[in-house]
Symmetry: C3
Subunit: 343 residues, 3 copies
């Protein structure tokens, strides 16, 4: 057979490094599409002049363009036979990506653990995105539940990596040259700086977006993510196309501009859960909670640790989980990130 | 509260200059999306080679890309609490915008007048788009009806600016170097030149486009226009998303290629009315009327003053207003522009 | 009348060369949109670094971007009054198209033959796409059935060109410098090379895509193809918009990555039939058959002649025609191409 059946649980070996296919050169085209697909307005990613005033050589591509590009390449090798995307940890953006850069991905298998039912198992990978100079631009750990090809295949020795719950503030990588000391708050759209946010503070981002089928498919294809379930209405028994979880991440992040316009750069992905599936017709809103604050060595640059939640219209404000400890049915995404903001 | 509630009528002071947020660097990506979103075919905005043969350094971005980009930035400060977009006047394109240019906007409040009901008032602003060199690329006056925050807020002294009904031909700014004396009519798509159009002539542009939700949202987001009513199906009681009026402007302009292929450059926006709301599923057609003609000092370059009307399929040809002087319900847009065309 | 009514059968003269309007400069924007509109993943068209390792100066734009751009320009002159798109022959890609290139088209009328009913006739054109240096990048023969303006117009002498059924292997143009001797199969996504494919072999490309109205209209507009039937829901009595056949070609080609990831470059279009109309809501799948194989003089470069078939979900695997010799109703496209693949 010439087509790719994807890997099954028993195909993964701890320590193996998988070089993912189809490197991708990004351009201003991807940026324009990103702005068309999401209500993205963070000034650092919109204006070369603004970015230069912040010490960067030009406006980078949105941090989530980097994430989606790196992630999309892993799908044929990691998640084609995945039953569930279980979590993220230890994610860090290591260098900005600019138009003209060529991105490829590789993943190291860092853990495998068969489920007790013998039908599937969890696979842990540490994925790295690399640019044309071989420099890492992003790394993160992701674990997924993958089907076994043959139920009778023997279980490998279980290896479960120890993962930090949060990236420590001192491990955040601030892009070289970044300097917020002459930051133009008027051009950025809001006056709130690092000192104006308090741990425990919650922010309702107010705006909402109703999703169309064409939009999430355009976005998901743009990242060369080929999972059938996003594109083929005949694939699920209910005839619905499941929206790529990353589409909801980008929507939520873009909506968070309203209240967090100065939280310009994502530098860490501490954790993330796709709490419930999202479908076309859903109206997505977002809220944030300030989980922690830290200083950095870069001039004028502070960091906020933020919980970013996407929920369907009609969800109770700031409600996340029920009394049973499970996510409420309206909650779509629970993301935990570090972002850089002027002090 | 960290989110932007928008300004209310009593927040505007005549003479105040508002610097709008989020400058934007444009690229070939925005051009490609513009061609995907609208049936745009004017050769000057499609081909570097054609533009160079007309004396420009390269093909500029569509004049309406400049307009939408400048306009989109004003929304959070001017029209977030607007009840209605009442009119445009004294609009002039002052310099072409090229890929790589960074655009920002600022608006001067030039008039305020409370309505007799005390619930709202009209705000007049003169908006300027500026490039990275600080050069103005576009200016126009726009007035909107804005809600008051508190009905009991005292009415400011009424100031209503005197606005010219039409930009005078001698005030049109022809881009430096523009030269239509070697214009290639075959490559441009039609043979009709300035002398072939007569004042009073009407042109049915024949083609029609049925609008989808995904398309108008992609377009409106691309201009970083964030008015909820365009994106959130839960916002209006009827569950419909109102289409950004500028989307209809661009559709009508692009459709006008068929019959006005040589009316290459927009140089003035004399007036404009969004006559009726437009919704997904509507099929939009366009017609034009030649209102005036003028010569310019540039070689081979003439100007046509055009009424450009968008109407829904099924509208009577060239019908604009009823016996009561009001726009017919099928009419969506009534625009009054100057365009440059080879003589 | 100022608008273009299109040409009718009696307007074509054998030997006439029609220069088509609206040249187009392509950029990274068109590439990004192509990746958003189709699940395109061939590495040579995705990564500058990969393309350079194959001897090219940079990653070209997808061969079908070149095809659609050239084709779209011919619509106002060739197929505005076409009843049917009957066939393609002798198509060859002659040079890669890169971001920054400006493409125009011209067509020579090489045959006319009135139908026996006297209402219409077939018109044969040889179309060439040219870049800004005047170099041909693509040529193909296409024939369409065109309505007569006046049934009583006299029939011109019938001229039916002799067309080769297949482009001979020695006539394939391999881009200058192309060298697959250091080809990276892991980065390309599959390990199968020229020697792994056998004549007669069939490949089910497995994946499927359900089409939305917004997507096919964005695509078709991007190529400045203006045929009303694709955009105006009021045009056909059934209220459906017919999907541009080229959209199905690009979908099928992109889907063929899964099983033919290394069939990187299209170099010839031997024949093609749009077997049945395609509408929004259809789920499109694809399969291929290896029709022939050939070597080329370029290092490491072989050629496969492939039948590429698009069919709606539910079609029997590898079924093309019924006992009556007609295409099955689920079949959308039957394309015959040569592609270059590492040996």
């Amino acid at each position: 057979m010439k087509t790719n059946p994807g890997r099954f649980f028993e195909d993964y070996r701890v320590g193996e490094v998988i070089r993912h296919a189809v490197p991708r050169t990004l351009s201003g085209g991807e940026r324009a599409l990103y702005h068309a697909l999401y209500p993205a307005r963070h000034a650092l990613y919109s204006s070369d002049a603004f970015a230069r005033a912040c010490g960067l050589p030009a406006s980078p591509l949105d941090d989530l363009i980097a994430f989606h590009t790196v992630f999309g390449k892993t799908v044929p090798d990691i998640s084609l036979n995945a039953v569930a995307n279980l979590g993220y940890a230890e994610g860090r953006w290591l260098a900005p990506v600019y138009p003209g850069d060529t991105i490829r991905s590789e993943s190291e298998v860092i853990g495998v653990k068969e489920n007790s039912n013998g039908q599937s198992g969890n696979v842990y990978v540490r994925t790295r995105g690399l640019n044309q100079h071989g420099e890492a631009v992003l790394e993160y750990v992701r674990w997924v539940m993958v089907r076994k090809r043959r139920v009778e295949a023997p279980a490998p020795p279980a290896v479960v990596p120890e993962l930090r719950k949060v990236v420590a503030a001192q491990d955040l990588v601030v892009p070289q040259g970044l300097d917020f000391s002459a930051y133009d708050f008027a051009l950025a759209g809001e006056r709130h700086r690092w000192g104006d946010y308090e741990i425990g503070e919650t922010i309702d981002h107010v705006d909402g977006v109703t999703i169309e089928e064409a939009e999430h498919m355009l976005a998901t294809r743009l990242w060369q993510n080929t999972a059938k379930v996003h594109f083929d209405a005949t694939f699920r028994p209910d005839g619905r196309r499941l929206i790529y979880g990353g589409h909801v991440i980008s929507l939520a992040r873009a909506l968070s501009f309203n209240g967090l316009a100065n939280a310009q750069m994502l530098v860490a992905l501490n954790a993330g859960a796709h709490a419930n599936p999202c479908f076309a017709g859903d109206t997505v809103r977002a809220w944030s909670e300030v989980l922690d604050k830290a200083e950095t060595a870069a001039p004028g640059v502070g960091a906020l640790r933020l919980r970013l939640v996407a929920a369907k219209a009609g969800a109770a404000p700031f409600a996340l989980k029920g009394a049973d400890g499970k996510y409420l049915p309206e909650v779509l995404l629970d993301l935990d990130v570090w972002a850089l903001i002027p002090r």
